[in-house]
């Protein structure tokens, strides 16, 4: 168990405050409870089955997508629209309680991450942990992110894909 809940890159550990370990069930609860969730998709998501799963999850929950790095193009090639931002730019906006969100409807209250480079995501999650008390962060990568509010554990591919499959259902 221990191996599953220390940060994937162990030295990303920042201090006493650690993410809550979640299963797809709890993750889905968080999405259901959120009023204005946002899905941040990073450039590591390039190919199927991951790409398809990611798109399916976004569609299932009808969550607006922000793409980081050059992930915008990857999704666009699959006819999936998204809002391109640098990961540091979107993090900067998310920490401002006054920001109106990607759709101009108000700041988001839940941000779910997948596919960003581990260490830069960890830094962005740290920013949000400290400076965005108005929102919760959830990571559904196969890596435990201790700087998130809630995170999947470290997993092997097979288990992870299984987790993501579960995220596609209500």
């Amino acid at each position: 168990m221990y191996e599953r809940i220390i940060p994937w890159q162990p030295t990303a550990i920042a201090g006493p405050k650690q993410a809550l370990l979640v299963t797809p069930k709890t993750a889905k609860m968080m999405i259901k409870r959120a009023k204005r969730p946002l899905f941040v998709v990073g450039p590591i998501i390039k190919e199927d089955p991951l790409l398809k799963l990611t798109i399916d999850i976004a569609k299932k929950w009808n969550i607006p997508i922000v793409t980081t790095g050059d992930a915008y193009k990857t999704l666009r090639d699959r006819e999936m629209d998204s809002n391109p931002y640098g990961i540091v730019e979107i993090t900067n906006l998310l920490k401002d309680p006054e920001w109106k969100g990607v759709n101009g409807e108000g700041q988001h209250d839940l941000v779910m991450f997948i596919g960003c480079i581990y260490y830069i995501a960890s830094q962005g999650l740290s920013t949000l942990k400290h400076f965005a008390p108005h929102l919760k962060t959830l990571t559904i990568c196969k890596f435990f992110h201790s700087n998130a509010d809630a995170s999947f554990p470290n997993m092997k591919d097979e288990e992870w894909l299984n987790y993501l499959e579960k995220m596609k259902t209500a």
Partner: protein
């Protein structure tokens, strides 16, 4: 002789309020004749600025580009009250909050970086004064009159001799002390003030580097702004392993120069190899083209493990601190040469060289600390000549079949991958090697995707010598590791600035992009070269230095040419300009300062704010530190930022904890003052950020093109810049960028090729034309000379636009 352009006692406010011009003949000099006796020079408001003198400028920058913090650690352990937990809005026992704590650590990093560069500069300066005398002239040749743009602007003097540089050095050292003291518990409490201090530390870093590079250029006769500086050999495959090999690691040229002198004086050039890693390599190859460049810092552990070097000479900065242990592994001899890194070795500086040689060769001492560069030259050479033959018979690296056998012991624990800074798939590479397929390890070795930090090896529960395995596998293709680099040319010539100043300021040359810094790359070294290539093909001026310059050299285009072979060293469109080592980075802001002075006739002396404001609003320059890892890189970037030049970091750059990001959604942040007519106008987000970190090369490339936009661009220039931005966005994102409307001021700004699409975007956004600012500035009107005065000082061409 130093030309003092203003008496020191007169304080800043005095100059601010009176806008005084001084004519004086009382230049302090010790030479007899001075052509400059009757100089009429104008001193600006802030010669030798104190920690707070440029604070108001910093506040303007920090208001627009607010610090963005990504805490790398939630705690503070700086004093014994701690550790203090700073999460959830909690403050430390001293009262500091998480923002100020992050800013304090950034300031600390900048102070360390500035100290490293300037202690290096101080050492060089005193060493060279000892060799050449304090009256040795600062003469950079016919084409360079503005010899020290940073010193002129910050200190307000025109240094004429090596001895004159001491004044700048003294000032810098004092400032750094004040800045460092602010990091003590219970000093500064505001994150913004910490940032202002960090910007000051960055400026001190820039100053230290300029002192260092000018000293070595003039005293050691390194290339003086020579655009045709020779191509020198680069790569692990260029080293003749049959010969005795001396390897220099670090940044200080003194000991390397000592070695090269000894080799040359004893006609040993053909009998041995002198090579370097990191900036030491760049600087010894500027000194003597017999020296070879092994490569950037990413090669350090691989190359030491390969055992090729008989003698390893370390000086300062970025050397592996376990180099003694590593040297012992393959019976290489270590010589430490500076007070910065003595490595626990006995001080042999005052011993007879032959005695040191004998003690080293006979293993009576485990290495030597020798603080006299000439003695280092003699000892290193003699030791290499003596031990080389025997060492060549040593078996240093495992054979391929041994690698396979070792690799097959892997337990698949996976920790090598987890501790890797880039999470590289080392485990699967080892597993494949265990089955006799080495291609995955080879892939990791290529282009320094694995930069041999050694963390995986430390972690391996089977103690597999992963680095030695990698070094051996790399040797299979060692012959391909032959490249070149244009020797670092130092400053940009005044004549070049005269030629390109207008095209840069008006936007006809789309930008000046500087690839600098270390090799903490997210995905190998070729990303930097590919970015450089992309911008060279697009007519940008590409400047480079240090490890970045070496990474660019390690790449061949489709025709097999290195970019240094393909592009000239001119500071002009399509020029690839290697300025030199880390300290040579000073010439990059230096070139921007010269544009303000030579093209726009802005006086430099004591005039920091006006110059920085000019650069921010008019000079489309952008730095890229794709693999920045060090405190020096933090200081370099922060210093560059204070001059108004944006910098893009790689993803690891977020671990510096702080960026400076603009908010394009907040229009009020982009109000700009038009100094021509004293009006405040709605400007555009150009440049959008001051310190940005991108997640991958694709994002960075597009960001860099955008960060070259400036409020001052003419419509023609704006079209050109936007054209590149849009092209690159289409290439990497597949679309015309949605934010393009923010950068169209008038219809004429629309690039012709994209007219239809952009018009559609403009219509959708309800776009209305804006006034183009004639003289954009973020300074207060009251801080400027009167508009009349301002115009008189401007160049006619600058006025005409």
């Amino acid at each position: 002789m130093v030309i003092h352009v203003a008496p020191k006692e007169l304080k800043n406010d005095f100059w601010k309020s009176k806008d005084i011009k001084i004519s004086f003949g009382e230049i302090i000099h010790d030479g007899e004749d001075s052509e400059e006796k009757e100089s009429e020079l104008e001193m600006g408001p802030t010669p030798k600025p104190s920690v707070t003198d440029l604070r108001s400028w910093d506040m303007k920058l920090l208001d627009r580009y607010e610090p963005f913090y990504a805490p790398f650690c939630d705690m503070c352990c700086l004093c014994t009250y701690g550790k203090c937990d700073l999460t959830d809005g909690k403050k430390g026992a001293c009262g500091i909050d998480i923002k100020a704590q992050q800013a304090r650590i950034v300031l600390l990093a900048c102070c360390i970086g500035a100290a490293a560069h300037s202690a290096h500069a101080r050492h060089l300066l005193e060493h060279l004064i000892e060799k050449k005398g304090e009256d040795f002239p600062i003469d950079l040749g016919m084409n360079i009159e503005i010899e020290a743009p940073i010193i002129r602007t910050v200190i307000g003097i025109i240094p004429k001799t090596l001895g004159d540089l001491r004044e700048a050095m003294d000032y810098m050292e004092e400032q750094n002390l004040h800045l460092l003291s602010a990091c003590h518990t219970g000093q500064e409490g505001s994150n913004i003030d910490f940032e202002s201090k960090a910007l000051h530390a960055g400026l001190m870093d820039n100053l230290g580097k300029e002192i260092g590079d000018i000293s070595q250029i003039v005293a050691l006769n390194l290339p003086k702004g020579d655009e045709d500086a020779p191509l020198v050999e680069l790569g692990m495959g260029t080293i003749n392993r049959e010969k005795p090999v001396v390897l220099c690691i670090g940044h200080n040229v003194s000991s390397g120069a000592g070695i090269l002198d000894y080799v040359e004086n004893n006609a040993l050039e053909d009998n041995m190899e002198v090579c370097g890693i990191c900036c030491a390599a760049i600087d010894i190859s500027r000194y003597n083209q017999h020296a070879k460049v092994v490569g950037p810092i990413s090669k350090q552990l691989k190359f030491i493990r390969s055992g090729v070097a008989d003698v390893i000479v370390v000086d300062e900065q970025c050397i592996r601190t376990d180099v003694l242990e590593e040297a012992h592994k393959n019976q290489a001899k270590l010589i430490a040469t500076t007070d910065k890194s003595c490595m626990g070795l006995p001080d042999m500086t005052n011993e007879d060289p032959d005695k040191i040689v004998s003690q080293l060769v006979n293993n009576q001492i485990e290495g030597a600390l020798i603080l006299d560069p000439d003695k280092v030259g003699e000892v290193a050479t003699k030791v290499a000549l003596k031990i080389s033959k025997d060492r060549k018979t040593l078996k240093i690296l495992p054979e391929m079949d041994e690698i396979q056998e070792m690799a097959s012991e892997c337990t698949e624990c996976g920790w090598c991958t987890r501790v890797c800074p880039n999470s590289l798939p080392m485990m699967s590479a080892v597993l494949e090697a265990g089955k006799g397929d080495f291609s995955k390890m080879e892939e990791l070795n290529n282009n320094d995707i694995c930069y041999s930090c050694g963390r995986c090896e430390q972690e391996c529960e089977r103690d597999l010598p992963i680095m030695s395995m990698m070094a051996r596998i790399g040797e299979n293709k060692i012959k391909e590791q032959k490249f070149n680099i244009r020797a670092g040319r130092g400053p940009i010539q005044d004549v070049e600035i005269r030629k390109v100043g207008a095209p840069i300021v008006l936007g006809d040359i789309p930008g000046v992009i500087a690839f600098v810094g270390c090799t903490n790359y997210p995905d190998g070294a070729s990303d930097v070269a590919r970015m450089a290539e992309e911008f060279l093909e697009r007519n940008y001026i590409v400047v480079t230095s240090g490890c970045g310059a070496m990474s660019i050299g390690e790449y061949r285009d489709e025709e097999g040419k290195t970019l240094y072979e393909k592009y000239s060293g001119d500071f002009d469109a399509k020029g690839l300009v290697n300025v030199g080592s880390c300290v040579s980075n000073a010439h990059i802001p230096g070139a921007c300062i010269k544009i303000a002075n030579i093209f726009a006739k802005k006086p430099l002396e004591g005039n920091f704010e006006e110059i920085a404001d000019y650069i921010l609003n008019r000079v489309g320059a952008c730095g890229v530190a794709w693999g920045a890892y060090s405190q020096k890189a933090a200081a370099i970037a922060t210093g560059i930022n204070r001059w108004g030049i944006p910098v893009v970091l790689g993803p690891h750059g977020t671990k510096y904890r702080r960026l400076f990001l603009g908010r394009t959604d907040l229009e009020e942040k982009w109000k700009i003052n038009d100094m021509r007519n004293g009006t405040v106008v709605q400007g555009e987000p150009a440049p959008e950020h001051l310190l940005y970190a991108a997640e991958n090369r694709e994002e960075a490339t597009v960001a860099v093109a955008k960060l070259c936009l400036r409020p001052n661009d003419t419509s023609k220039g704006r079209q050109l810049k936007l054209n590149h931005y849009i092209d690159l966005h289409r290439k990497y994102f597949g679309t015309i960028p949605e934010d393009v409307y923010k950068f169209i001021r008038v219809e004429k700004d629309i690039p012709i090729t994209y007219k239809k699409d952009i018009k559609a975007i403009l219509d959708e956004r309800g776009w209305l034309p804006k006034k183009i600012t004639s003289e954009p500035s973020i300074r207060d009107f009251k801080d400027q000379s009167s508009p009349e005065n301002f115009k008189n000082k401007s160049h006619p061409k600058a006025d005409a636009k």
